[in-house]
Symmetry: C2
Subunit: 441 residues, 2 copies
């Protein structure tokens, strides 16, 4: 008999079925046994009643044992029906249980855990209802990102991770022993996606990037998944912001269509993305912060403090019904060498950050596409253009005006779901003292 | 006026349009100028005639300059119509050209190049018709892989690249300086995708993996993109082979739907995947090789020689109309520690290689899901189970029978397109002496 997925069981009333699943809970009571069974699609209640030989075969079962269960789908008595959950109206009356694998668990799966315990026991803890919901949502965020960009004519490519130097010119990098040479791990696919604009005009990449940051905070990861796009033939950074807003709408729509149950289970708030996204220059945001929002020491600073980002997001949500706000025109000094300087606002760049639910999730902007201008940008940052000869080829041989963004997958997952720590949104977070298990110092 | 993509121009006869593009070719002839313009969607012929001021503005244009061209779409004279190409029946009569960026090229873009020149000039050379076709096909291979697995209920996840040790236990690894510790780059997402089977039953990952192999051959890359899936609740390795065959069918279908023009341009042969994929044990393949195919020194060996793989593929194609052939039951000694040993054929594993058009593109099989059996596998390979404590948690806490595969993206791209060297199918191949530019020894 073929396996039936648990979510489809309530369509099988009166029929014999076979399911393959985990024992989610088990309770023995005299000559009866009660179970919840779980597969990736859902849960269902099971019962052994009046079948001593089945009871005998099931007597060792404990939580998380892996089983193949045969039985008949019965309608539950009216008083026991739970209309709020999948299969709340049925149970499986068990005729046979075959054990596929045993299990021994360190603690109950759905306990509330502190983060250290959760990370120490990751392979087990990821199976919890909460974690399965978080990472299903994360998979659907990636799908929404990709499908939206594909629909706008973007081509996906795989960016290399072993690189000669630090693309962003400033981030802390991991060194790799590369045969007789030394190399480093990419902090971003930036230079490659610019090269690829010369090839396919519109490109995106999904992949891990690496930041050797020594601090361990609730905002940082040492390895994270970056969702990057880059588009050619733009007028300016506003085209990039428009595209990113469309990507966010695509992600939201995909989540509502394919992860509604998980969003509800995790009590995620609705994502507010109005037709017009609030957009202001950094200098305007700083005046707003001091004059209306009660902040201090904002005006004239080259960047926003985390507290300022929170205040601006609160403002955008309350006053403008938006979870997203664009801050543009960061000073040249605070942005990477490839950032385009605004001809009409010298010293400031056609760059932006996207703040979302209190925190920066995206950095983006227009890039320098003119060869001489780009070399000038390198020199201003004290970089040696000779170190970028390969990259510069793309700018010598016909590069359109272009721009793009980088979006941190774990961070957007965290903010959509209202998780406290970005590590809760990372499957296997790398920390200064942890690669899966704790490292020795 | 909005930009029209070049592929849509023949629908605009008699209309004014604006295109944004590269100068693909240019020829000045007295008071006239003739162009081919190229954007990501196609090419079109352009002409300047009887417009001295436009001619003057265009006089510096050379190949690969980036331009915005306004003009009128004219039907070409009957004798000049080329029905075999997109826009072969139209040309754009240019009324204005705006220069977006200039270019200076090292050689003609579509020249035949040797591999070293191609790699030295990658950011430029990737723009050639051939390379754009290769990497469009590659993007569609990934899309076909992903869409097929999504349709079968697989969940995508991002596997970490910085790892504590070598998952495959044998491949050569790159060391990473990880703060005060040492770490390495993942040679495969294997251990993580097995852990994720405990979470989502069916999972896949697309990402780069790293092999510190010192030899530089036409078959090897030091960093490549691996397409991996893993599925729970299987009966044995045959379920995995069936799923992989379906994935290949999905890739083929997606290519035919979305990259037909590129396959034709590259003269790719049709991919033959019959309903029944030829499948034989290694020992049977070795007998076939010696008794029917004229090979020597095959029987009794623990693995196939590259020449044997080619002979078996030739046989499968000619005799069984298949580009794909599965070889199963490699000896325990030749497979990683997690490979499932066949109860009915001791010393041999429920593993397989998929050979495709002459070469192995996939390694896969059923895995050991029983904790004790897995620990036994580690010990047999001389590995210390204490080094795998994190991974083993998944096997202690309820792991279903499962199996999966890893597919090299560049290698399958190479074979589908009949390219001589796998590096031709890698955007930015890493070699022992090259990370984009040549390294100093």
């Amino acid at each position: 008999m073929r396996r039936t997925m648990i979510k489809n069981l309530s369509e099988k009333k009166g029929q014999e079925v076979k399911i393959k699943c985990w024992v989610d809970t088990v309770r023995f009571q005299g000559k009866m046994a009660f179970f919840d069974f779980r597969d990736v699609s859902g849960k269902v209640q099971g019962i052994i009643f009046g079948k001593p030989e089945v009871l005998e075969s099931a007597k060792d079962l404990r939580n998380e044992w892996v089983v193949e269960v045969s039985g008949v789908i019965n309608q539950r008595p009216e008083k026991n029906i739970n209309k709020d959950i999948v299969n709340g109206d049925v149970e499986i009356e068990i005729t046979n249980i075959e054990i596929l694998n045993k299990a021994e668990i360190p603690f109950e799966l759905n306990e509330d855990l502190n983060l250290d315990v959760s990370l120490d026991n990751r392979p087990y803890v990821l199976k919890s209802d909460k974690n399965r919901a978080i990472f299903k949502v994360q998979a659907e965020i990636v799908k929404g990102f990709r499908n939206t960009l594909n629909s706008f004519g973007f081509t996906e490519f795989q960016a290399p991770k072993i690189v000669g130097g630090d693309a962003e010119g400033g981030a802390e990098v991991y060194n790799v022993e590369y045969f007789k040479n030394s190399a480093s791990l990419a902090t971003s696919p930036q230079l490659y996606k610019q090269i690829m604009v010369g090839v396919f005009e519109r490109v995106f990449a999904v992949g891990n990037v690496f930041r050797a940051e020594k601090h361990s905070t609730s905002r940082h990861l040492n390895e994270y998944s970056s969702l990057d796009f880059e588009m050619g033939f733009i007028k300016d950074h506003a085209d990039v912001m428009d595209m990113f807003a469309d990507v966010m709408r695509g992600i939201k729509k995909n989540l509502e269509e394919n992860a509604k149950a998980e969003l509800d289970f995790l009590k995620a708030e609705e994502i507010l993305i109005p037709d017009e996204i609030p957009t202001m220059k950094l200098s305007e945001a700083q005046v707003l912060l001091e004059e209306k929002l009660g902040a201090e020491n904002a005006i004239g600073e080259p960047d926003l403090e985390p507290e300022h980002e929170r205040m601006l997001c609160d403002y955008a949500k309350k006053e403008l019904n938006s979870d997203l706000i664009f801050i543009t025109h960061y000073p040249v000094s605070k942005r990477p060498f490839y950032t385009y300087e605004d001809e009409n606002d010298k010293g400031f760049t056609k760059s932006f950050d996207a703040l979302f639910k209190g925190v920066e999730i995206v950095s983006g902007g227009q890039r320098r596409h003119d060869y001489d201008d780009l070399v000038e940008g390198m020199k201003m940052k004290g970089l040696n253009p000779d170190d970028f000869k390969f990259y510069l080829q793309a700018f010598k041989t016909g590069m359109p005006p272009h721009g793009g963004i980088g979006l941190g997958l774990e961070r957007i997952t965290q903010k959509i779901l209202g998780l406290k720590n970005v590590k809760e949104a990372a499957l296997f977070p790398r920390e200064i003292n942890r690669i899966d298990t704790l490292l020795n110092e």
